[in-house]
Amino acid sequence: MSRELTRTLAAAIASVGVVGAMHAHAQSPSRPPDAGRGAVIAAQGVAPRVPACAQCHAFDGASEGSGAFPRIAGQSTYYLGKQMRDFASGVRTDAVMTPIGKALSTEEVADVAAYYATVASPFLPLKSGDPTLVKRGEQLAQIGDESKHLQSCDDCHGPGGAGEPPAIPYLAGQYAHYIAFQLQMWQRGFRKSSPDAMEYIAKRLDDRDVAAVAAYFQQARTATPPAQPKE
């Protein structure tokens, strides 16, 4: 357990430092991020315009499993923070997240990111996808496809899709519906982050391959961090 703890915690803690250094994209927070304050925002939102994150993402970040809302537990603070900024700036658009991104302050984003990066969260017992689809997804994830000019997802997304913090998110355990939806958003040009990598790759995936990687990663597993580090 301590190895995973090392990796995700070190990433989470380091990412906090990273957010501080990363003023190219946002104002530096004026104080170090506070996961405790982040937990409060997650639980009750920020009156009057920001609903509780927990309403959709659950207090433990596992969301509710339908894939309408992504699992965010254990995602790096850098990545969580960047998504909020992307919603605020229009690089990503979502009817619910865009106003939230715009309403939260730099400090609040950092706090919530620090909270969700370290929250303990189980994987929901969801039905597995069609085994042939999962197998195809595994191939794309671990090996790629020469005929489609596709490298393996894990090249960037880390061992078993565990992510490559701080900048590249985990896919292991992410909900199939959400993964498929984001790939479609890239295919249609609505999601403007990572245009030369993810948009390019998404456009080379046909519908079956999208379903395959989605099904594969939903059932892939990685360790999740505990709520607080223990010695």
Binding site: S2, R3, E4, T6, A14, D154, P159, G160, A172
Partner: protein, 252 residues
């Protein structure tokens, strides 16, 4: 922050040996084997979880003590011995490199100029065997096996080898030393899949993130501090190392 990382890393050093045997990976907290510590050079010789397939006991004793002086442990970071460098060297000597892969092995053999590089007929396995045999005979005749010398005496002996002072069964001792040092650096810094760099301690020491490497988002954030735990090419999503199961990693 560095302290935290080190504490976890030290726990993992003990845990890794066990988790190598069962990829299922129960919580490391139950392992309880906190064998490694910063002053590990003195401890780890007994705790070294390796089966040697090439080195005999005498050879292994020399190699362990030698690498412990070449890259010693200190208060901040483990050294080559704790990192499993002797295991790395053993597995390399037992494998294709030791047997002479990628070495032009036709004669005639003649001494060359320094510019002409290595010109001996020995494969690495033959070279180590000849040299270690000569060293161990030499020292046991003198009544001072290397492993029982003080650190200062060991350093002094290594420096004499390094200077080329001795001929070790046909191997000039500086050539042996060069091979030993190169192997030590490789064993310290190579991917843990090869049996050294245990728990990626060497990568943590310098801050090298390892085998998974995709930095487009970060490369132009000049000066950014990257502190993520390194990744080995041998690990799965749960951080378990999947290494050649044919080579047991723990002493019975």
């Amino acid at each position: 922050m560095a302290d935290l990382t080190r504490r976890f890393m030290l726990k993992a050093t003990g845990a890794i040996g066990a988790s190598m045997l069962s990829a299922g990976g129960a919580a490391a907290g139950t392992r309880g084997s906190e064998a490694a510590s910063p002053g590990g050079a003195r401890v780890a010789a007994g705790a070294s979880p390796s089966i040697y397939v090439f080195l005999n006991r005498e050879e292994a004793a020399f190699i362990e003590s030698a690498v412990a002086r070449l890259i010693p442990a200190d208060a901040k970071w483990p050294g080559a011995l704790e990192a499993g460098v002797s295991n790395y060297i053993d597995k390399q000597l037992a494998g294709a490199w030791g047997a002479g892969e990628r070495l032009y092995r036709s004669g005639p053999w003649r001494p060359g100029t320094p510019s002409q590089g290595y010109q001996l007929p020995f494969t690495p396995a033959e070279l180590f065997r000849a040299a270690l045999g000569a060293i161990n005979r030499d020292l046991s005749q003198a009544g001072t096996p290397f492993a029982r010398m003080s650190s200062e005496q060991q350093d002094g002996y290594l420096r004499r080898l390094e200077s080329g002072e001795k001929n070790l069964g046909g191997v000039p001792s500086d050539v042996f030393f060069e091979h030993l040092w190169q192997c030590t650096v490789e064993g310290f810094f190579s991917d843990p899949v090869y049996g050294g760099n245990r728990s990626m301690v060497a990568w943590r020491m310098v801050g090298f993130p390892g085998a998974y490497a995709s930095y487009y988002e970060l490369v132009d954030q000049h000066g950014i501090h990257i502190d993520r735990a390194p990744t080995s090419l041998a690990e799965d999503a749960n951080g378990h190392m999947i290494i050649n199961p044919g080579i047991p990693a723990k002493s019975p």
